[in-house]
């Protein structure tokens, strides 16, 4: 296995409640790169992140992170691996009963015995990196959506991870916060020399900042390439996605029997 690869998914299948969610996913995330996983809501993007983070186990196939097969780790090994991963959740998932400072210091308090002055310095450094050093004693309820996302980012990098996973980092942000978060993802990746996986459906913002894109649809990878490749792509699915067309390979209608047949058959049984 190439040492350049931090995360490697080989023929990964995942089935939830007998419903296949992922069917034969192959994915490679090199060190130091930002990779986007795109697709419609419910296509299995978040599931992919959870497989990498070890919160779910693949039904078949192999998930390698830093040379370890995530599906075969026991809980201690998994927890050791997770200390080297950061994850940014959809709406930040800040601990609502703790101040911004305590949120960022959470892992330092839980996993290290560092003296409080040192913890304080490290927390302030991380908060400074996201431009929120001044907000350290606010409570999460006092933050705007974009600020909460940035605090969560500072929390995710608290232990200087190898890999950061972003679950819909752009969801529900105003245009300014959105580009701030986008910029931050890129700069943190370059400054800290880490790898990033961005799960999103915000195509315009992510094409600006990522190195490589995977398109997932109905549990399969349907397209992949660099942003330039993707922009040029004439695959109908990718085209529909980029231009946001209502109908195309992704049908406007939920699958159903022919309309006439349904009316004829179901009318007498209507309750």
């Amino acid at each position: 296995m190439s040492s350049e690869l931090l995360v490697k998914l080989t023929d990964v299948n995942f089935t939830y409640d007998r419903r296949p969610v992922l069917k034969g996913i192959n994915m490679q995330i090199p060190r130091g790169k930002v990779v986007a996983i795109m697709g419609l809501s419910g296509c299995g993007k978040t599931t992919t992140l959870r497989l990498i983070g070890g919160q779910l186990r693949a039904t078949a196939g192999e998930v390698l992170v830093a040379g370890k097969n995530v599906g075969e780790l026991d809980s201690d090994e998994l927890y050791a691996l997770r200390r080297r991963m950061g994850m940014l959740f959809q709406f930040g998932a800040l601990f609502t009963d703790m101040s911004v400072y305590d949120n960022v210091a959470f892992q330092l308090h839980e996993h290290t015995d560092l003296p409080e002055e040192l913890v304080r310095d490290m927390v302030m450094m991380k908060l400074h990196a996201v431009g929120l050093r001044g907000a350290h004693d606010l409570m999460p309820s006092e933050l705007s959506g974009g600020m909460a996302r940035r605090v969560a980012l500072a929390r995710a990098i608290a232990l200087d991870p190898l890999l950061i996973m972003y679950d819909e980092p752009f969801a529900g942000l105003d245009p300014i916060s959105l580009s701030i978060v986008g910029e931050l993802i890129r700069t943190l990746n370059n400054a800290l020399g880490i790898s990033s996986i961005v799960v999103t459906h915000d195509i315009q913002e992510s094409l600006k900042i990522v190195d490589y894109v995977y398109f997932v649809s109905e549990g399969r990878i349907v397209a992949e390439g660099t942003p330039a490749d993707i922009r040029k792509s004439d695959q109908p699915y990718v085209h529909q996605f980029i231009w946001g067309e209502a109908d195309g390979p992704v049908s406007y209608h939920y699958p159903a029997r022919p309309f006439g047949e349904q009316i004829y058959r179901e009318a007498p049984r209507a309750r």
């Binding site: 983070g53 919160q55 927890y79 050791a80 997770r82 200390r83 991963m85 950061g86 994850m87 959740f89 959809q90 709406f91 998932a93 800040l94 601990f95 609502t96 959470f106 892992q107 839980e110 996993h111 969560a152 929390r155």
Partner: protein, 265 residues
């Protein structure tokens, strides 16, 4: 069509039953995990103290006020009944025994379930709905150890203290009404009470009851929170379920414990 209806109904019933049994098994496994990961709750006792504040201290007012009123009502009703048989001095016995054996543990537990149990469920459920529990897991911190266990133990510790306070305030309320207001002899009120309330039989058993109720309420509350659907409806449904399930469980457990404890005497 008819066959379909019956077999469908039967299948639905079967699925409901297996679902319940499955959930009970899951809840039992969850309780074991909570107890196994309790080292954090006791090792960093500050976490548990914080939760005792939220479960115990914040329930104080409702427990103290209800205890006082229940005792006062017992004083009035008890006097009314006892004086017909000319034994109004036994008011102390009546108030003390009914509070220490039954009303103290049971009513305090019902109040605790609706005040603190629902709050625990809502808090954990909300943490789940906003992915805080997932985030914690991804930061290599076990939410059962960090979030669930301190809340569980806080409930278990608070409940007997609250029940004792309820009984004590209730007896005081009975004293206020019986002795101060109605004029039952103060000496016989206390002395009769002391002569017939037994420390081991009545008071220790009452404390054991409230401790058992504490375990039941805390268990149901943390489990419902941890297991709820991570949506707004899921959290509110789980909160309601906590109050209903733990109230029923308290009354059932009370019957079993009473049958075991006061069988002979």
């Amino acid at each position: 069509m008819r066959d379909d209806f019956f077999s469908g109904g039967l299948r639905g019933l079967g699925r409901r039953v297996t679902d319940r049994v499955w959930r009970l098994g899951f809840a039992a496994r969850f309780l074991l995990a909570t107890i196994r990961y309790s080292t954090v709750a006791f090792g960093r006792f500050g976490l548990t103290i914080r939760e005792i504040y939220f479960t115990g201290v914040l329930s104080l007012i409702i427990i103290l006020v209800s205890g006082l009123f229940v005792g006062m009502v017992l004083g009035l009703q008890g006097y009314d009944t006892l004086q017909r048989y000319g034994s109004s001095e036994a008011l102390g016995i009546l108030v003390a025994l009914s509070l220490v054996r039954e009303l103290g543990p049971v009513v305090a537990a019902l109040l605790f379930a609706s005040r603190a149990g629902s709050a625990i469920t809502a808090e954990i459920g909300l943490m789940k709905a906003t992915e805080q529990l997932s985030a914690m897991e991804m930061m290599a911190v076990d939410p059962i150890a960090r979030v669930v266990a301190p809340r569980f133990w806080a409930g278990v510790i608070s409940m007997p203290l609250l029940a004792a306070l309820f009984s004590a305030l209730g007896i005081f309320g009975g004293y206020l009404v019986g002795v101060q207001l109605i004029g039952v002899d103060e000496g016989s009120f206390w002395s009769q009470m002391q002569a017939s309330v037994d420390f081991r039989e009545d008071i220790v058993n009452g404390v054991i009851k409230s401790a058992v109720f504490g375990v039941i309420i805390s268990w149901i509350a943390v489990f419902e929170g941890y297991d709820c659907e991570p949506t707004a409806e899921g959290v509110s449904g789980a909160t309601t379920r906590t109050v209903v399930t733990s109230s029923l469980a308290i009354l059932a457990a009370d019957f079993i414990l009473t049958a075991l404890m006061f069988r002979g005497a």
